[in-house]
């Protein structure tokens, strides 16, 4: 742990216990990077493959999820959901796409594309300054009896994200936003819990997402750190390419 980190930690702690004034949003977000492993741990990670499960508890629907990511902006995820089949989604630089057995292939556009690209930024946790030009601390709220800083992060394009960071631990325990989807804007609430170390970075092993009437839980089971991922993994699938070409009149 270098001196700079120590100073950061001291600053964060001091801010955390001071009654007034509120710590800056910047310091809260930097503290989150620090408490989850530190910038160096994030920057060492060039690729990853995460494996998990997905469950819509009230509907009784289960599935698996595998997420591939590579620095700086490549992302591919595949979900296999009982009764709904396969859903694939990906980001490769400026292109964001989705292909599902239900709705077919498509290329994302507009705000939905911008949001997908932010999600596709592999180290978005440390890159928050690039992704959210404006951040502000909107005060303190209690979540499950714990005081949390409410940080509003506003991107260049799309709705703000509101993160709730525990005053005591610095961990993010909740996030709300309004997601732009093809079907419309949908309020989303994420509850993060059960933080565990995956390859030196603390990540919530359990994330429960409430979107409109739906609620599901993603359980992160394992993360392969810096595996070799062939570039084709992130390439646009042929079916998506066809509709993209058609849309462009090719």
């Amino acid at each position: 742990m270098n001196r700079r980190v120590l100073i950061l930690l001291l600053m964060s702690s001091a801010a955390g216990f001071a009654a007034d004034p509120l710590p800056s949003a910047e310091s809260i977000l930097d503290r989150y990077v620090q408490v989850t492993g530190g910038r160096q741990a994030y920057e060492k990670r060039k690729t990853e493959i995460a494996h998990g499960t997905l469950e819509y508890t009230s509907l009784g629907i289960k599935g698996t999820i595998t997420r591939y990511a590579a620095e700086p902006d490549k992302y591919y995820a595949t979900l296999d959901i009982e009764g709904l089949g396969k859903v694939e989604m990906g980001v490769n630089g400026p292109v964001a796409w989705e292909n599902s057995a239900l709705l077919g292939p498509r290329v994302k556009t507009g705000v939905e594309r911008a949001e997908a690209i932010r999600e596709g930024n592999m180290n978005s946790t440390v890159n928050w300054r690039k992704l959210y030009p404006k951040v502000e601390n909107a005060g303190i709220e209690s979540i499950d009896g714990e005081d949390c800083y409410k940080v509003v992060m506003t991107p260049t394009e799309g709705q703000p994200m509101v993160g709730y960071y525990q005053k005591k631990s610095g961990l993010q325990v909740k996030m709300t936003t309004v997601a732009s989807t093809q079907m419309g804007d949908i309020p989303v609430e994420l509850i993060a819990s059960d933080y565990k170390s995956f390859g030196g970075i603390l990540e919530p092993a359990k994330v429960t997402q409430k979107s409109g009437p739906q609620e599901f839980t993603i359980t992160l089971e394992s993360v392969e750190v810096n595996p070799a991922i062939p570039p084709e993994r992130f390439a646009l699938p042929a079916e998506v390419r066809k509709v993209a070409d058609k849309a462009e009149g090719k």
Partner: protein, 416 residues
């Protein structure tokens, strides 16, 4: 004797008080359900608490169960929205009665002109083997007359064809391996009584989450140069969607495509959007919009790489509900399909039925759905472009006037 009379009087009074309490509990359940589950925070634009305060004293003064029901009906009538109804306990009991088991005879039926009539017989089923034919009238099943059930249901405007058909078909079901005695009137008006074996329903068993596993089947065929497809549910997504894609691909070349959704009660709503993508080539189109309490969902269409350009006819009836209505109504509004048959079930939403503490049934809608043409489907349904009624006479002569009307239209669309 006087003491006994007093005891009886006291018991009757106690029973009356208990019944009144059940009505009060039912009122609270109805009011609370609307408050918590209606898609608008102010249901129907009303101050719902004020509605409670207005109607609760009236309910407390109600001197009979019928009077209490009338107060509740009036209260939800203030919403001026369809699919909010109080269904009297005797009617609800008739409709709520499930079949004795999953076994079926292979008969599909509808109520035509106030009578239960066989509309289709599954190939290879017990009914087919014993010679049952479309057009036969079902008089009695398992010793129960059909007519009183039908008359009771038809007397209540809150009861829809879909519910009535389910009630009729429930009488033709039972344990797999068992039998059901059915009395028919055949084509010549002769009484025929058959003992029909009960077998598993047609199709493959498909599970989806907490929904009970259901049998799903998909069929397609060519009628001359026209493709025809029919499936009983929007479920078993991987199989049904892949089969639909294959049908569309095989419809090149063809004069047109008939999608028969009669009797299809819906399923996974998203499948309507996915299937429409094989038929609609124009980008940024939607079938309609669903309004929930905290969000608005557009039922968008993603045109596939290869889209069918031939004319499309969609066949519907009063048992086409939910996803079937979203699909048919959306394609109609987009001008992509012509709709044939009779008005759909008007149940595009997950409107729920619950038993109230006093035994009555309570129906309520959870969201609003507006088809792309601006019409709410809930309560109104999809009105066909061409209304064609199925008749017993046509069925008895081996005709399906709905398919014939669609085929005729498709032939007229064919380019010279």
């Amino acid at each position: 004797m006087r003491r006994l009379c007093l005891l009886v009087a006291a018991s009757v009074a106690a029973l009356g008080q208990a019944a009144h309490q059940l009505d009060l509990d039912s009122f609270e359940k109805v009011w609370t359900t609307v408050r918590d589950k209606h898609w608008q925070v102010r249901p129907g634009g009303l101050d719902w608490q004020a509605i409670h305060d207005e109607y609760r004293p009236r309910l407390e003064k109600a001197s009979s169960h019928d009077e209490a029901r009338a107060v509740m009906q009036e209260m939800i009538g203030r919403l001026k929205q369809s699919h909010f109804a109080i269904i009297p306990a005797p009617v609800y009991s008739v409709l709520d009665e499930d079949g004795e088991g999953p076994g079926v005879t292979g008969i599909d039926a509808r109520v035509l002109d106030g009578q239960a009539v066989v509309t289709a017989v599954d190939p290879g089923s017990a009914a087919e083997k014993q010679g049952v034919l479309p057009g036969w009238q079902i008089e009695r099943a398992s010793g129960r007359e059909m007519k009183p059930i039908i008359d009771q249901a038809l007397s209540n405007p809150a009861i829809h064809e879909l519910q009535l058909t389910r009630a009729v078909l429930a009488r033709l079901s039972g344990s797999i391996g068992g039998t059901v005695d059915v009395a028919f009137l055949d084509g010549s008006g002769k009484a025929v009584v058959l003992r029909l074996d009960l077998a598993p329903p047609r199709g493959a068993l498909s599970a989806f989450g907490n929904l009970p596993a259901q049998h799903v089947w998909f069929e397609d065929k060519r009628i001359g140069s026209t493709s025809y497809v029919r499936f009983n549910l929007f479920l078993d997504l991987p199989h049904v969607m892949a089969s639909f894609q294959k049908t569309v691909q095989n419809c090149k070349p063809c004069d047109g495509l008939i999608i028969d959704l009669r009797g299809n009660p819906g399923g996974i709503g998203g499948m309507a959007m996915g299937m429409a993508g094989f038929l609609v080539d124009k980008p940024n189109q939607r079938l309609g919009t669903m309004f929930l309490r905290d969000s608005t969902l557009n039922f968008v269409v993603n045109p596939r790489a290869e889209v069918l350009s031939a004319p499309v006819a969609v066949l519907v009836d009063g048992c086409s509900a939910s996803t079937s209505e979203i699909f048919a109504g959306g394609l109609k509004d987009l001008g992509r399909a012509r709709i044939f048959g009779t008005r759909t079930a008007a149940a595009a939403l997950p409107s729920a039925f619950e038993r109230l503490p006093n035994g009555d049934g309570f129906q309520y809608a959870l969201a609003n759905y507006i088809s792309e043409g601006g019409q709410p489907l809930e309560g109104l349904g999809v009105t066909p472009d061409v209304t064609v009624e199925l008749t017993r006479a046509a069925l008895l002569t081996g005709h399906d006037p709905v398919i014939e009307a669609a085929l005729d239209w498709i032939r007229r669309q064919a380019k010279p």
